[in-house]
Chain length 400, copies 2
């Protein structure tokens, strides 16, 4: 065994208490063959439009002086134009100059953290929320307040109580089928949230990677789209999205729509983080979007996830009928659930692993106030037959 | 004209004085047709091994469930193994687990800044240095000390005087054909620098993107390779490199070799910055490196840059014989020069633009102590005939 010498390096204060992503570590162990994974948040690999991306990348290499070369930090202009058109199709009036390309939507969260947050500033997160948002705030030594959710999304009365009490720099919200909640913010609450942004002069960071993945009907318009109806709201709105869940996460192509002043600061940070996102990946994404194949691929994603979600819901009703409570999501990739008897999901995970099934305990999604009976079940990356077997295994793992 | 409303957003204190990369802004205006650019630091597009990368990307898409999917933050293990082999070939014993893949070497600099620097900490940079290193330190509100260079690289007596006087967190050094200096740190100084790292317990960040681009004989072994001869030095050494200058900058594939504890902290930061570098780009790089085509491509890069550098040196001797002083570089992409009469390069740039030739004034490379008579001339991205014409134009622009 290699004995590792301890050097007592002097790390920055911001690293204190940063432990890395529990989920990402778990992804590593869950790749054991035979394990059925409801952990991770992987899109279904078999649904990638590989043929379309093959053509898009062959085409990209027809202009190696662009695709293989350095580019500008803001992103390839032709791609920004395509993404602006996509936002337009989603109901939001966006010019190419009003968005920048980021290395996954995650980078946009990080850029905003660096541009906005001083140590001691306060941010508001949903409860439960995307753990990377919590880590972003922690790394900038910000104070975190969390606001509860129901199936219509964020509890705005609870939010307003916080905003009345203290100065908040921004609130991070995933209005459509959030990770992990699966919840969808109602139209009424969206409009009220925009009005609160103006009233309390608080920035809203809208993260919308899942909005296209609805099962029946599209979700209400995004906060960005609705900001046209609430004069002044757009000044307080940063809206990010990504191709990760509808084209490929491996490309790492996200984008960020923000007021010009905020975009300028984000670009300065990004210059120092990675100079620009992979030009090659950007041109591949550009060619793919221009091919218009995504329009015909989206229904495939939606149908598959709908079937997988239904299978999971039915399997739970059959095998864990009285044990698990949850709201059935109307889109996205996740089912957020809770053991009715308050059973500790983290403790259960060890037994689940012995039964070759994994999920993510809810605690990492809860910021400072974990409800240890919660868990996240991802239905996106397993076919229905496996989902059924996985829930059966989970039911067996729960038995005394 | 659109009147932009001013919102008085409250940005983080770290943004004060951050203005973005002057060079990157300049790249945008230099793309006007007909302009001969000695600005930028672009590799020669026509030398990209497009055919090799075409095969590598077609091959990548044979396994879409890997190339298009999420990956681990540390990078694709098979690529880390290839990069470790490459480091081995360069004389440094590196295991795959001792390096992580970064989104360009630039990201490694940023990760280290976040992991190590508190506001008020002191870092040492070369004078002149890569402006991104200066920005990295400024953004973390660190104090910057600079140390002068000659053609054998960093002045170590000047460095030691600083280390005796104050606690320094780390020193950033580009030992081979640095940007912008073009200088090469001598073997003797490399060994002494490693000994100073141990004596003063100071981290060294070695950045080596240009080492393979030598014109005649290879540079001395890297600090990483030499650390094997200086017991204990490796504990203080972080060594980064990149495929940007020898394969393609558009892939954004860099890597970072560091002690395990530092690598762990860097991974935590990277999880929040971009989750991982583009899997697609990583697999393309992996396939390309495995094809072994790089071995046959490197001499092409070296020969071309050698010819371009020689042309530039000859053209200067012919057209600006007594006006410009410089050391002829032995590799890399840059010639660092100074007007003997102390002429201000920034002021000259405007006239140069009128003559359709651009370069980068030296001031942004000098940290807080600009010598305004300096300038950086990049010879990498223009063919010899254009270099000759560009220097002629520069000579005309200088005329009264």
């Amino acid at each position: 065994m290699l004995l590792e010498k301890t050097m007592n390096y002097e790390f920055a204060d911001r690293m204190a208490g940063m432990t890395g992503s529990v989920i990402r570590e778990m992804l590593k162990s869950a790749s054991k063959p035979g394990v059925i994974s409801f952990a991770g948040g992987l899109p279904a690999s078999e649904l990638f439009d590989t043929e379309g991306l093959r053509m898009a990348s062959a085409q990209a290499l027809e202009n190696p002086e662009i695709a293989l070369q350095y580019g500008v930090t803001e992103g390839v202009m032709a791609l920004r134009e395509q993404l602006a058109l996509m936002m337009w199709a989603r109901g939001a009036l966006v010019q190419a100059e009003q968005l920048i390309v980021t290395t996954g939507a995650l980078q946009a969260i990080s850029l905003l953290g660096d541009a906005i947050l001083n140590p001691g500033d306060t941010v508001v997160l949903e409860r439960p929320t995307f753990p990377a948002a919590t880590d972003m705030a922690r790394l900038r030594q910000a104070n975190i307040r969390t606001v509860g959710m129901d199936k219509d999304g964020l509890n705005l009365d609870e939010l307003e109580a916080i905003l009345r009490r203290e100065r908040v720099k921004f609130i991070y919200v995933v209005p459509n089928f959030g990770n992990p909640s699966g919840a969808m913010l109602s139209l009424e609450r969206r409009l009220r949230l925009l009005e609160m942004a103006i009233k309390y002069r608080i920035l809203i960071l809208e993260d919308d990677p899942y909005g296209e993945l609805y099962f029946e009907s599209p979700p209400p318009p995004s906060l960005l789209a609705l900001s046209g109806q609430v004069p002044g709201a757009r000044d307080y709105l940063i809206s990010i999205s990504s191709l990760s869940k509808i084209v490929s996460p491996g490309l790492r192509i996200g984008w960020m729509v923000a007021p010009a002043e905020i975009l300028r600061q984000a670009v300065i940070i990004k210059q120092g983080q990675d100079a620009h996102s992979s030009t090659f990946a950007q041109i591949v994404a550009l060619n793919y979007l221009k091919s218009d194949r995504l329009r015909y691929r989206l229904p495939t994603w939606r149908r598959a996830y709908k079937a997988r979600c239904e299978t999971m819901v039915e399997a739970i009703k059959m095998h864990l009928p009285s044990q698990l409570e949850f709201d059935t999501p109307a889109g996205g990739m996740f089912l957020w659930a809770r053991w009715r008897d308050g059973r500790d999901s983290t403790a259960l995970l060890q037994r689940a692993l012995e039964h070759d099934v994994v999920f993510v305990p809810g605690a990492p999604f809860m910021g400072g106030q974990p409800d240890r009976a919660t868990l996240r079940l991802s239905f996106s990356s397993s076919e229905p037959g496996r989902i059924l077997r996985g829930i059966q295994r989970l039911a067996r793992a729960r038995m005394p």
